[in-house]
């Protein structure tokens, strides 16, 4: 009887232990609409999410690198390092061949965060470098509870850093609707529009001047033409001289060349776009309807399949 009881107790303990273990690393399913921001704690603003998504699309397309931010309220009983490591590898952040993902996990209720990079960026993002990035760009806002500002600041720093690392030109910025709504950017966009308007007007003026000058020169030629008219005596023309053909009336109008065969080879949009879509679809793995946030781009993004060795740094 005692043996049976002890067996039952042992089984219960083992089951409870396994249950706790499962709960310890209960990673939530990734939000497939917003691959780059997994805001389970709902602490990041929509404008910041849009900003991160759009910038990531550029980075992802050019380098395969992804900068992913995730927020959760708690990691349960798991250490933040283990949780971030499991999340990174479950989501497959970064290119599978280059392992160049960068991941930031904010754990709100535990007031902690952890950043890690894929093994492809390990030499660039050593523990010390990560710690400095977090300290310089995230810590203050995080301590103040302004997670959105902290994430934005941290993301900009990492994006800048990776852009330099991969030598991406700064001109490849996202389209203006996705730009952040801060004063500096709106000011520069106003300046930009004024400048472009000025350029357009200047261009039109130059074109107008050229047209007017051409017309004027023609008029003056016509005006001067009588001064150079042919002399008033007969020019001897041998009989063999024929009237040029272009004076002959055309008997029939030959039909215009058939462009159908030509146009069939001009497959606007068809071949090339299907090629593009096929290449982009190979990157997209998530199905379903399109998100309003990703509606600006026809191709949807997905995690690349990268993995991390787990080295990183956090707050504590």
């Amino acid at each position: 009887m005692r043996k049976t009881f002890s067996k039952v107790v042992l089984i219960v303990i083992l089951l409870a232990g396994s249950f706790l273990h499962v709960n310890a690393l209960d990673i939530p399913e990734a939000d497939t609409d917003l691959v780059y921001v997994q805001d389970f704690a709902k602490v990041i603003n929509d404008s910041t999410i849009d900003y991160i998504v759009e910038k990531n699309k550029i980075l992802d397309e050019k380098t395969g690198a992804q900068i992913v931010v995730a927020t959760v309220n708690t990691t349960g009983t798991a250490d933040i390092e283990d949780y971030a490591y499991a999340m990174f590898n479950q989501y497959g952040i970064g290119s599978s061949s280059k392992d160049n993902g960068v991941f930031l996990l904010l754990v709100i209720a535990q007031e902690d965060y952890w950043m890690m990079a894929g093994s492809g960026l390990e030499s660039h993002y050593s523990g010390g470098a990560i710690k400095n990035l977090l300290w310089d760009y995230l810590e203050d806002d995080f301590a103040d509870g302004d997670y959105d500002a902290g994430v934005r600041s941290w993301f900009d720093a990492v994006y800048r850093d990776l852009s330099d690392y991969y030598n991406i030109s700064s001109s490849t910025t996202p389209s203006s609707p996705m730009m952040p709504d801060n004063h500096t950017d709106s000011y520069s966009s106003v300046l930009g529009s004024i400048f472009s308007t000025f350029l357009t007007i200047a261009f039109l003026i130059i074109v107008l001047i050229i047209v007017v000058s051409i017309l004027t020169s023609r008029r003056s030629t016509r005006y001067r033409a009588p001064r150079y008219q042919s002399p008033n005596y007969r020019v001897y023309r041998p009989i063999t001289f024929r009237t040029p053909d272009y004076y002959r009336p055309r008997d029939t109008y030959s039909p215009r060349p058939d462009h159908d065969s030509h146009s069939s080879s001009w497959n606007f949009g068809g071949g090339s776009s299907s090629h593009r879509s096929s290449s982009s679809s190979s990157r997209s793995s998530f199905g379903g309807g399109s998100s309003s946030r990703s509606s600006s781009s026809s191709s949807r993004s997905s995690f690349g399949g990268g993995s991390s060795r787990g080295g990183g740094a956090g707050r504590k």
Binding site: Y85, S96, S97, S126, K131, N132, G310, G311
Partner: protein, 187 residues
């Protein structure tokens, strides 16, 4: 010639030959499996996509290098009892560097980690130059990161796989008979 015609003797010889061949073959194959598993510790595993994982030995080498840098900076500033602390870290770093056995390496790493933490926090009490303060911080968190990655290295999986083979019959018996040990785990 009668010696060769002895049926009982020839049967015994045959049995001995089979036993020797079995033991020799088992030893060779088990030793090779063990060698392959342990090789992952030194040269790293190769992923399916052909990518080479950084080995545990490389991580340990990085820890040794970074710790040397930390000691170098610390020795410029520390006084009194902390001089002894820096020397202890230096000795443990040398021990990790010279350890040959995987178990020994693990123990040396754990001992070093504890002392490095102590030294790092002891340096808070000294007025380091900005450059050195920043360097100490970078080096320390580099070391922490390498400790972290050692916990996720796939070597232990390879070692565990091999050890599971040794736990099953007949490999368990053959391993004992042929003196093939389990692969040491790095934990």
């Amino acid at each position: 010639m009668k010696f060769w015609e002895n049926r009982r003797l020839s049967l015994c010889l045959m049995i001995v030959a089979i036993l020797v061949a079995t033991l020799f073959g088992s030893h060779r194959s088990l030793a090779k499996l063990r060698k392959d598993a342990v090789a992952v510790f030194y040269s790293g595993a190769t992923a399916k996509n052909g990518e080479k994982e950084k080995s545990l030995q490389e991580d340990l080498n990085d820890i040794v290098t970074r710790t040397s840098s930390l000691i170098g900076i610390a020795k410029k500033y520390v006084r009194d009892t902390d001089v002894k602390l820096a020397d202890e870290v230096s000795a443990l770093n040398d021990a990790l560097s010279s350890a040959t056995d995987i178990d020994e390496k693990y123990q040396a790493m754990i001992a070093l980690k504890a002392k490095v933490d102590t030294l790092y926090y002891a340096l808070d009490g000294y007025e380091l130059s900005d450059t050195n303060r920043k360097s100490v911080s970078i080096v320390y968190y580099d070391i922490q990161s390498f400790y972290e990655t050692t916990g996720h290295n796939s070597y232990n999986e390879y070692a565990d796989q091999f050890n599971q083979i040794l736990d099953k019959f007949p490999a368990s018996l053959l391993a004992k008979l042929t003196f093939v040990d389990k692969a040491p785990a790095f934990r």
